[in-house]
Amino acid sequence: MAKLPLAGIRVIDHGIVYTGAAATTMLADMGAEVIRIESIQVLQPFTRGFMARPPKTEQTGLGYPDLDPGDRPWDRWFQLHGLQRNKYGITLDLSRPAGVEIYKKLVSISDIILDNFAAGVMDRLGVGYSAIKEVKPDIIMVSASGFGATGPYKNYAAVGTSLGGMAGLASLRGYPDDDILIRTPSPVWSDNAAAGTAVFAALTALHHRNKTGKGQFVDLAQVETFLPHMGESILEYTMNHREPKPMGNRDPSMAPHGCYPCKGEDNWVAIAVASDEQWEALCRVLGNPEWSKAEKFKTAVDRWENQDELDRHISQWTAGLDHYDVMHLLQDVGVPAGPVVRSADLYNDPHLKDRGFFKEITHRATGTHRYPGMCFQFSKTPAEVRMPPNCLGEHNEYVYGELLGMPREEIEQLKEEKYIGDAFLPEIP
């Protein structure tokens, strides 16, 4: 079997929360040796839970298997499990100079460093690009902060939800008939864009290094990776000086185009009709009812102009049907339709099952569960789960012993002096 494409590339992973953690996972899924660095002195919220040792109540249990944080909550948190397979995990206290010295040894045998701290954090730890390139001149460092390392917001704190607001996503999100914005921030959607773009950035820089021998520092602002995803809205403004407005589930030209109620509690189906052929096919499935023959639904323009009424008719039809059944009925005649799925639906979805999207993993802290898999399939070097999500400090022996060649006694001493370990210090809340 041929090697995975990124075999032989070593990545140091400071990724936290979503963006950084997922970017390095994509590199790991493609075969890079990713070494995740954490510290027993600092709990990264969202990455290993909000608390090191949460009290056992129903509320604090959310996010842990069976609502139970267990003895090692940091090894059981959902964000670790959803995102962090195929990586080695080590701990190292970078707040003390000896920790930084060890870190530099690891840097000297690595290709890429990726972090998504606020701009300046790596510098304050003494492991910013200027310090690191002394050790490894051709290192590639991708720093994926929220707003970037320059400009008036460079020191500002950001969370994923900040970025959608700043890039204009929030102002376009809502029902067309409701002038109040949906106030609950969107899911941290921009993190998806930032994670994928950070991988592309790291590999593009690596390609450049392979050609020229030169490494570089990539100051990647997460919010800028999301701007192109807003492209047509931005051009609507710059071309026509017109402020785009929320359209809900409506489309600028297609109708019917909406989300319709189905049988059961809170079940919905999305239907989009893109042509006269699809409209005729939809009408056939509905049994060509009298209303569908009306003049006002004759052309695409008529249907768009009378879509409120059209939607009422379609809702009456869907209301008695199962949302998956509507998908199959319409897809069989070539009309785009799909159920609005819950997580449970996705886990049971026959298509995702057929493609093997979910991976069953047995983890020493959580037992056996079904994990969301990769966003890609390779035909010749299939990407698999080679390692379950890493426990805190799980691979200290491998990295310090085998990779860096430190003698056993030295590793033991690091443990004693709390440079490394596999549990957060007792005083961490």
């Binding site: 494409p5 963006t19 997922a22 996010g63 959902f78 964000q79 499990h81 959803g82 008036p152 917001y153 704190a157 994923g160 900040s162 700043m166 996503l169 929030a170 376009l172 029902y175 949906i182 609950t184 899911p187 941290v188 959607w189 993190d191 998806n192 994928g196 991988v199 592309f200 590999l203 593009t204 450049h208 020229t212 990539v218 990776t225 192109p228 047509e232 809205s233 931005i234 051009l235 071309m239 026509n240 785009p244 297609m254 909406g258 989300c259 919905w268 989009a272 897809q331 785009p336 799909g338 886990y347 995702l352 569960h369 994990y371 969301p372 990769m374 966003c375 890609f376 390779f378 035909s379």
Partner: protein, 402 residues
């Protein structure tokens, strides 16, 4: 200084959004991207708005102009033998082929990977489709609405008593394009190392379910059996959190974690908040969401967006602007970092576009080139690169091959 990907050639058989965004990432960083369009008609995105001055002209679609910067455009009819022959000649010199047809299309043209691999064993072929190249839904049709519905997000978007909402625009397709570019780049390393290319199968549905955010949601369910619900206007009991109006716009306040409360009191210069039993007792605190917001709304109404952001950030509270598109374009941070680019197009003129999503200091971006006119680079590619004569070009055009 040369751009990073100048030695990478990408054959671009993509249309609409996901595929073109993937190849745009390559072309924006210097790759030689040859976009192949259907003669006379071109990429379907040329028929999609917004259009400059609302003129639905194929060279004036904002969507198309945005998604195809820095590419070379040729036309080629793949339903002709000659067209297929020319395409195969192009495959010989390509590193990556990206396509986002429905899964059956390339096979029906006799362009299975097995055939392409014989021509060029190093070829990476990336296929982006709604649901992937295999599985029971592989031939199902979708639009952005249907794709978003079938991912883990839409069910929790919107008001609890209304229908779930799609995200604005084409977010699922952009996301798949981004991931496809990252993974194609990865596969290219493998092809260079081993001399052996392969097929990359990207399903937009799976992009929505993969790490980070989609996978996080699915994992919560797997661990806790918890479905994320629509919360609409506000997440009851969590405050301050969400978008709030101020004197001259909107801001996001991310301040619901208990650790933020002393900072909020300091920001608002209201020390009394720290002693108010309604807000500090964790048990009753969620019940007084409305009480606090009444105070907050009044306070915000007298203050400007930029002042609020500055003063909140001084207290390390993540407060940031919530912009309408016009405001995005005026933002000081974006402009300080040159996040937008002005590009001059022969028919659409000078327009401001979103710039490249990151910059490589060691391999600068060249001044950006506009999206190609339909068939703009036919002469360059067919004659200068492939060696056809001007007369050949006429013959090819007359037979509706280009």
């Amino acid at each position: 200084m040369e751009q990073a990907l100048t030695d990478v050639r990408v054959l671009d058989l993509t249309h609409y959004v996901a595929g073109p965004y993937c190849t745009k990432l390559f072309s924006d960083f210097g790759a030689d991207v040859i976009k192949i369009e259907k003669p006379g008609e071109g990429d379907g995105a040329r028929k999609m708005g917004p259009f400059l001055d609302d003129d639905p002209h194929p060279e004036k679609s904002g969507l198309f102009l945005h998604l195809n910067t820095n590419k070379k455009g040729i036309t080629l009819n793949l339903k002709t033998r000659t067209g297929i022959k020319i395409f195969k000649d192009l495959v010989k010199e390509a590193d990556i082929l990206v396509e986002n047809f429905e899964p059956r299309v390339l096979s029906s043209l006799g362009l299975d990977y097995r055939v392409l691999e014989d021509i060029n064993p190093r070829l990476v072929k990336t296929s982006i489709s709604n649901f992937g190249q295999t599985g029971p839904y592989r031939n199902y049709k979708a639009t952005e609405l249907v794709l978003f519905a079938m991912g883990p997000h839409m069910f929790s978007e919107g008001e609890p008593d209304r229908e779930p909402l799609k995200f604005p625009g084409f977010k699922s397709q952009y996301l798949a394009g981004t991931y496809a570019a990252a993974v194609s780049m990865g596969a290219l390393f493998g092809a260079k190392a081993s001399g052996m290319g392969q097929e990359v199968d990207i399903s937009i549905m799976e992009c929505l379910c993969a790490p980070p955010e989609g996978a996080g949601r699915l994992m919560v369910y797997e661990f806790s059996n918890e479905e994320i619900k629509r919360e609409g206007h506000r997440k009851e009991g969590y405050y301050p959190y969400g978008y709030y109006p101020c004197k001259d716009g909107m801001i996001l306040i991310y301040g619901f974690l208990p650790a933020f409360w002393p900072r909020i009191a300091k920001w608002m210069d209201m020390p009394e908040l720290l002693e108010d039993p309604r807000f500090i007792d964790p048990v009753v605190r969620p019940e007084h969401h409305g009480d606090f917001e009444a105070i907050l709304y009044e306070w915000l109404a007298e203050r400007t967006q930029q002042d609020l952001i500055r003063s909140a950030q001084a207290q390390r509270i993540p407060v940031s602007p919530v912009y309408r598109i016009g405001e995005v374009l005026k933002d000081a941070q974006f402009n300080a970092r040159n996040a937008f680019a002005e590009i001059d197009h022969p028919m659409a003129g000078k327009i401001t576009y979103p710039g490249v999503p990151f910059k490589l200091p060691e391999a600068t971006s060249q001044p950006q080139k506009p999206a190609p006119l339909l068939g703009q680079h036919n002469h360059e590619i067919f004659c200068d690169v492939m060696g056809y004569s001007g007369e050949d070009l006429v013959r090819l055009r007359e037979q509706n091959i280009i």
